[in-house]
Each structure stands twice: as structure tokens, then as C-alpha cells.
Point group: D3
Amino acid sequence: MKFPDQIEEFWRKREEQNERVFRYAGLTTKRFFSLDTRVYRENGILPARMKELMGLVASLVLRCDDCIRYHIVRCYEQGVRDEELEEALSIALVVGGSITIPHLRRAYEDWEALKTAQSGE
Amino acid sequence: MKFPDQIEEFWRKREEQNERVFRYAGLTTKRFFSLDTRVYRENGILPARMKELMGLVASLVLRCDDCIRYHIVRCYEQGVRDEELEEALSIALVVGGSITIPHLRRAYEDWEALKTAQSGE
Amino acid sequence: MKFPDQIEEFWRKREEQNERVFRYAGLTTKRFFSLDTRVYRENGILPARMKELMGLVASLVLRCDDCIRYHIVRCYEQGVRDEELEEALSIALVVGGSITIPHLRRAYEDWEALKTAQSGE
Amino acid sequence: MKFPDQIEEFWRKREEQNERVFRYAGLTTKRFFSLDTRVYRENGILPARMKELMGLVASLVLRCDDCIRYHIVRCYEQGVRDEELEEALSIALVVGGSITIPHLRRAYEDWEALKTAQSGE
Amino acid sequence: MKFPDQIEEFWRKREEQNERVFRYAGLTTKRFFSLDTRVYRENGILPARMKELMGLVASLVLRCDDCIRYHIVRCYEQGVRDEELEEALSIALVVGGSITIPHLRRAYEDWEALKTAQSGE
Amino acid sequence: MKFPDQIEEFWRKREEQNERVFRYAGLTTKRFFSLDTRVYRENGILPARMKELMGLVASLVLRCDDCIRYHIVRCYEQGVRDEELEEALSIALVVGGSITIPHLRRAYEDWEALKTAQSGE
């Protein structure tokens, strides 16, 4: 999968930072990071696609740009459709209010950049 | 559907309060309330069940007991299964951290009360 | 001014709790409490009525029931009109989203209780 | 009105992002955006100036830089005076605590940039 | 150690609710609960007393009454002194602002109740 | 003490912004800023090192990058050890959840940059 430059760079930086965290991390932090990966994995009843959308909704109402970008990429990789994304984001918008709008704008910007990068292959 | 007493009372109080809000409400507030109903309706691609779970995840990470209770009831009415609920709540727990645990406890308490009230019919 | 019972009790409890805080409080806490009183006082350009409405908007988007109740009472004492209250609360609702609705319901409940207690004198 | 470069650029980007959101947006999102414009309009009892200050207070306690910048510009356009701004921001500071200080700093930075851009016409 | 009635009841309810959560919980939730216990344990360099104070500060700025009560009890069990508690709470108050005050009041109420229950043995 | 460039620049900018705030600030804002300095000072029972760690934990769970950076620098100046920092940050991570991870990454990035700048003297 081809990523747009800003997301490629985000991912590279994230890896580098994670390695640093792990050099300092004690057992609790390491285990937490492992739960954070595990919880979105399809290993039960909900499709991974729905889990990523739930992670996205949570990230939008809590207004964390890095977390939104991460889940936008993961949703894209899971084949989430435009309409599914829109419906999930509109729930987050109504629950979280206008204070989420700047993050909503960036979510769609990343989403479109992912689609453009792909179609340009 | 039969509700446990505390939820019956919650719903009655909620109706009474909503009527009062509407006596004061201007156009913006009225329209907002209508969006809040509309956004969880199945009128596109996501099943209502998934929308309610997303509303629940958002409510848990934002730690609003009334909102959690509302979506727990709605999830129950939509036929959400125990495993689906658990997977959604575990995402909210990991995203939102231990600060969400008291609300998680009350979410399962309501969930079980709903099942008990039903089976007791 | 005549307060409804639940608000009378809230105020009494608040006084009792404040006295306890002050028995433990160091200089920083004491000074903070004094700023918290000072900031809503009319001592500059904004009318106290507007300051209380701003405190109410902040309390609603941050979803603190005690703070909302406090500012609802203060708004009432300052002679805020129904329409002014409604416009301020609708801003808070749009900014803060549906997660604020349970608090909005309680805000209007207190407001009406204050008016009823008054008219019943 | 003449805007400083960083705000000119912010506004341009905002427009571009809004257009993208609207290409994806369903009915709920579109209606929400329309409420978000409507709620600050002077169409009742509170002066638009006070409404913008309330939006600013809400944005500061919720700590959203883009929202703060937006309301700072709108306050400026509405002719809010330095003293009014300061009193509103000090309420937000006391309610929201020292965690709001970095945003408070940027609020005054934008405010001064707006005044400088204007006087330099 | 002798607990005041409201805290005795809180602890009993908490146990009952935790058991219910564990009946539903999948692996992620169970592991999360175990991390939540582990992280405050003295197993490294910081004294357990300081860890509990940190948990208390985090709970106060995030405004979770159940979490505050839990850490207040744990601080008391760890022999935290009045002055230590006050200094930690004043940091939380300044960081989190006046919106934390209702929780601060309840924190001191619990603290005093614990001391009274003890001295009354 | 030698600071890495990004922190040097952060500090310079912060000073400049504070001066601007003080040109606009009324008495409440000025007093608040003074409390914010005072509260971390060692003037009672808790070591300044522990107070800075508490400020850091509060800043991480509230997810304020500027505040985190400020306390990371202050912790470093106070001689906080790697293990102390890690234990405090792991409490914040568990309380605040995965939504704090992007800030945790940047906290360790600053921490390492401070150590590198120092060892490079």
C-alpha cells in the first residue's frame, strides 16, 4: 500500500519514538502497549473494520490528532468505505460537539490523501 | 420489553426533563436534539447495532454515566450480544484508561440488570 | 431570595465542605479560592450577569454538575432572563456536543425550580 | 479587514478543509455545521459580541487552538475591547486551570497580531 | 483498619461490581485490570506513598469521584500525612482549575472521615 | 545547563508570550500565574522533585504537550532519575489510557534530548 508523504513520515517518526519508549519502558508500559495492539485485532466477534471505526470515534471525541490519523490509516487498510467512515464520524461529531470539527477536517484530509496516493499508483 | 426499576425510573425522568428543555429551547437546541436522534438511526450503511456500540464507546471514554446507560439500553434493544458489548467496551477501556473503570462497572451492572429483568418475564 | 430545598441543601453542604477545605488548605489553595470568587465580580467592563453566563458555559462544556448548579443560582440572582440563559446554554450545547445533554437537562431543572420557589413566595 | 499572514493562511486552509468535509458529509454533518454557524448569530437577546466571548471561553477551557483562533478573530471583528477579552479569558483561566495557559498565550499572540495588522494598514 | 460507613459501602459495592466485570471480561480487560493494580505497587524506585499521591492528582484533574475516593483511601493506608496530601491536592487544583473544586471538597470529606473513623476505634 | 535547540526555542518563545500575557493581564491572571509558580516550589513537605513529577502526571493525563515539555525540563533540572520518570509516566499511561501515548512518546523524546545535550557538553 502506498502512503502519502505526510503519513509515511508520521509512521516513520512513530516507529522511531516507539523504539525510544521501549528502551525506557518498564513491564507495565510494555504490557500496555501490547494491549493497545491486541484490542483492535479480530479475535472474537466484531470485524476488525468495526473495531477500527470504534477506535476512530473514541479518538475523535477525545480530540487526539495522532490517534485519529492512526485509525484513519488502519480503517483505510481494512477497506472501510466512504459511507461507513462518514457515518462513524458523524456520530463522533454529534457526541463531541463543534470542538471536534478541526480534527474532523484533518481526518477527511488524511482520508482523501490516502485515496489519492492509492489511485496514483 | 421489560426494564429493571432503576432504568424505568431513569427513562421516566429523562422524558420529563426533555419536555422541560423543549419548553425553553430555541431553534438551535431543538435541531440539535433532532440530530442526536437521527445520527443513530439506520439510514445508510452501518447497522444500528454498530452505531449504538459507537455511541457507547464515545460515552465511555468521555465518562458520562447517563449517556452510557442510554446506549446500554439501546444496545440491548438492538440485540447486541455479550461478546460484541465486551469487545467494544474493552476498546473504550484501553483508549480511555483506568479512569473509565468506575463507568465500565456501572455499564455491566445495567447490562446484567436488563438481562435479568428480561429473563424474569 | 427563596431557594428550592435541593438547592438550599446544596448550598449548606457546600459551606460545610468549604470550611473543611480551609482547615486543611495551604496558602496556594486559599489564594485560589479567593481568585475563584474574585473573577466573577463586576469590577471592570463586563456585567456580572455576562460573567456568570460565561462561567455557566464553561461549566457545561466541562460537564461539572455542581459548577453548573452554582452558576445557575448565581445567574438567577443576577437577574438573567430565560432567553439569555437559553442562548448561552445553546452555545455550550453546540460546542460540547450531545455528551452535555444530561447536564443541560439538570440545568433547566434547577432553573425552573428556582423560578417556582420564587413565585411561590 | 486586514489579517496577519498566519491567520490569513489559517482561514484559507479552513475553507479548503470545509469544502472537503462537505463533499463527504451526510445530512447530519451538514446540519451540524449549519447549527454551528447559527448559534453565534445575533438573532435574539445576547449581543453577538457576548456570544463570541462565550464561544471563546468554551474553546479555552476545552483547549482547542483552532477554535480559540477562530473566536479570537470573530471577537476582533465584532469590536470586542481589550478589557472585555481579558475578563473573559481570566474566567476561562480560573475555571480551566494552568493547563489552559499555553492556549491563553497563543490567544493573546493572535489578538495582538490582529491589532498590529490593522494599525499597519 | 476501620473505615467510615460510606467508604465501607463503596468498597463492598466495588468488589461486587468487579466480580461482575470479570464474568464478562475478555483477556484484554482482565490484563488491563491487572496493570491497574500493578502500577501503584512499590516495585521499583518510587515509594508506594508517592505513587498513590500521583494517582490521586491524576484522578482529581480528570475529575473522577470514585477514583479520587479510591486513592484517598489508599493514601491513608500508606500513611500519607495531611501536609503531603494538601500539597499534592493543591498541585491538582492549580493544574485543573476551579472545575476540580467540587471533587476537592469531597476528597477532604473522605480524608477527614477516615481519620475520624480511625481515632474513634 | 545546556538545552537542546527545540527546548531552547520553546523556552524563549514561552518568555516572549508570557511578557505579552502580562501586558494584557488583570489582577486575577497575574495572581494565577504567581500561584502556578508557587505550587511547585519546595516550601513544605514534598520534595520539589516529587512535585514536578506530579505536575508531569497531571499534564500527561490532560494531554497538554507544552505542559509536559515544561515539566520534563523541570524534572530534569531537579535531578529526577530515569526510573522515577518511568514509574510516574506509567501511572499516567494506565490512568489516562492509550490516548496519552502520542504525548508519552514526545515526553521521552524531550527527556532523551535533554540527556544528550548534557552529555555532549
